[in-house]
Symmetry: C2
Subunit: 337 residues, 2 copies
């Protein structure tokens, strides 16, 4: 009997340390016999007029066709006349929810040992509308746009996620005491969706208070859903609680079932090509992609191997206080599979 | 020879636990022989048409006349047709900078023991413009307004504060990679002011990264200056690092030399009138008011007495894990003077 055809997935290795950590993912996937065939795409060296950015039209088409992808760090080239790579991906692929699981890694000590939460960020509008102008000299304004459609969509995603992942509570984060119309609409949509999920506890927390609670006792939170900028801020804060962006996964969910997982840390040009980079964030992001593909066994096995390798402590990259190379750390993970 | 006339200061005891903790301040000030005469004002029980809020015109006039004041927690009554008490004070008194010193309290253990920073928040515009509207059904927008005038003013305050308080670094917090015009103008103003203070190190930090750095290593920061909403978020986050809003001071600086110090925690109606409230935040805020009046000796003496009482640990209120009443804690502070 012939093996089932492999699943095609788009891979953006990205810049800087991106290609090295992408190799790490490919090796771990191969060792775990994940039935995935990568379609690799690199950021172009000139602006593609069809995307108004350095991302090629072909690479976006690849994600649209495959519906799943993995993305390393991409440094947006400086200059005018083109759009940020991350923002282009979010807009062009309509990546409406950014999901970031965040939990304390066993054996890796930080000030917190009880973190286990998921931030779900609206990823297309809000403070990221791009609409800004000068009113008169010395007076500028930016528009924050909140729509019922995008708010309902991300709220639906958050509650569905909570339900299907055995989570008990969804907290909507807002500043509706000040932005009564925009954040007020966001909350109204969350409440509407909450009605349909009576088994999930729903609460609303003002963003300033949320940040204070997170640093005092992150165990108070489970799933958090919020407008774009608050998600940007809180997801990074949460990553900080467990060690930083080098250790946390991220996955963007788009319409039509697209999932684009990504390492959200920088491209670290200073250590690029030196076999020093920590591939954990990209690996854990790749694991979220596997879950999206419902390859749960593979996902669990790989995640366990990553966490066990870090917990064991024998092979750690420099950012985690060790002296392992990227390749040795990757080999250790493969050994734990 | 007759004693110099006392300095008049406005006191808003506020709601809930406000009156009790205000008594604590009065007692400590009396014990320390602070030459201040309080003019007490309470929030009215009907809307004053001249302020469009429950704050009376007379109370605002009192602050304008005295130039210094202290404010306990105020719960804005629910309902329409009036403005938030806090926002009314900020707008009417042009309280352009909110200054919050934040440091680890000796002997009071949190996850952090190396915090010593000051957040300086633009307090009048930005995301708090109050300008919002529905564009079409299901689409709403809020305007964030940044002006050169307000940005320069708060930047000037921050650098002057840094210089006069022996601080070495000012970090401007922003999201100018996304809000290029608004946060871009804010940064431009900070840079202009930074030029005039070559002895102060100036840096710019993106807000998401700032929050991550704060939870990983708050010792990286010294003075932080930022637009309104980021200040709201980051000042609460920082308070969380050292124990919460019950332990941190806040002072609002207005044009014409006004300083209105305030406890930024809530009015805690559940424990109001029970002699259980912790007056520390209001006391430490009152200390910032004394510094503003250049009563440095009194300020130091009172601050030391508060910190020593907490460090000693014998008299602590319930929120700090003790079982002292407000009055016993206050007596202990007076004993340490
Ligand atoms: C790089 C930047 C535009 C981006 C954002 O602000 O969304 C980043 O912080 C992120 O969280 O992915
Ligand atoms: C109560 C609220 C309006 C206020 C604010 O958002 O500024 C509070 O959070 C603060 O920081 O003083």
């Amino acid at each position: 009997s012939s093996a089932p055809a492999p699943i095609k997935a788009t891979l953006f290795p990205g810049d800087g340390i991106g290609p090295e950590i992408a190799v790490s993912v490919k090796q771990v996937f191969q060792a775990a016999e994940v039935p995935i065939e990568w379609e690799e795409h690199y950021v172009g060296d000139q602006i593609d007029p069809r995307t108004q950015s350095f991302l090629t039209w072909e690479s976006l088409e690849s994600v649209r066709r495959n519906r799943v992808g993995l993305k390393g760090p991409m440094a947006t080239p400086v200059g005018k006349g083109h759009r940020s790579l991350n923002l282009t991906l979010r807009k062009e692929l309509n990546l409406y929810a950014n999901v970031r699981p965040c939990y304390s890694l066993p054996g890796y000590k930080t000030r917190y040992d009880n973190v286990d939460l998921v931030t779900i960020r609206e990823n297309t509008e809000g403070e990221y509308s791009g609409l800004e102008h000068q009113v008169v000299r010395g007076v500028v304004e930016s528009l924050k746009i909140i729509t019922r459609q995008a708010s309902l969509r991300v709220a639906e995603y958050a509650f569905h996620f909570a339900k299907t992942h055995g989570r008990e509570r969804v907290s909507a984060i807002h500043k509706a005491n000040i932005m009564q119309k925009t954040d007020g609409l966001f909350l109204k949509c969350c409440r509407e969706v909450a009605e349909k999920y009576p088994e999930i506890t729903y609460e609303e927390v003002v963003i300033d208070n949320c940040c204070m609670m997170l640093v005092k006792n992150p165990a108070l939170f489970d799933v958090l859903v919020m407008p774009n900028l608050y998600g940007d801020i809180i997801s990074d804060l949460c990553a900080g609680l467990v060690g930083g962006l080098g250790l946390t996964a991220s996955c963007n969910i788009g319409e039509a079932g697209i999932a684009l997982a990504e390492a959200v840390h920088g491209s670290a040009p200073d250590i690029a090509g030196k076999n020093l980079a920590n591939p954990t964030a990209l690996l854990l992001s790749a694991v979220t992609m596997l879950r999206h593909l419902e390859l749960y066994d593979k996902a669990e096995r790989i995640q366990d191997a990553i966490l066990n390798t870090i917990a064991e402590g024998k092979y750690r990259t420099a950012d985690l206080g060790g002296s392992s190379s990227t390749t040795d750390f990757t080999k250790a993970i493969c050994g734990h599979l």
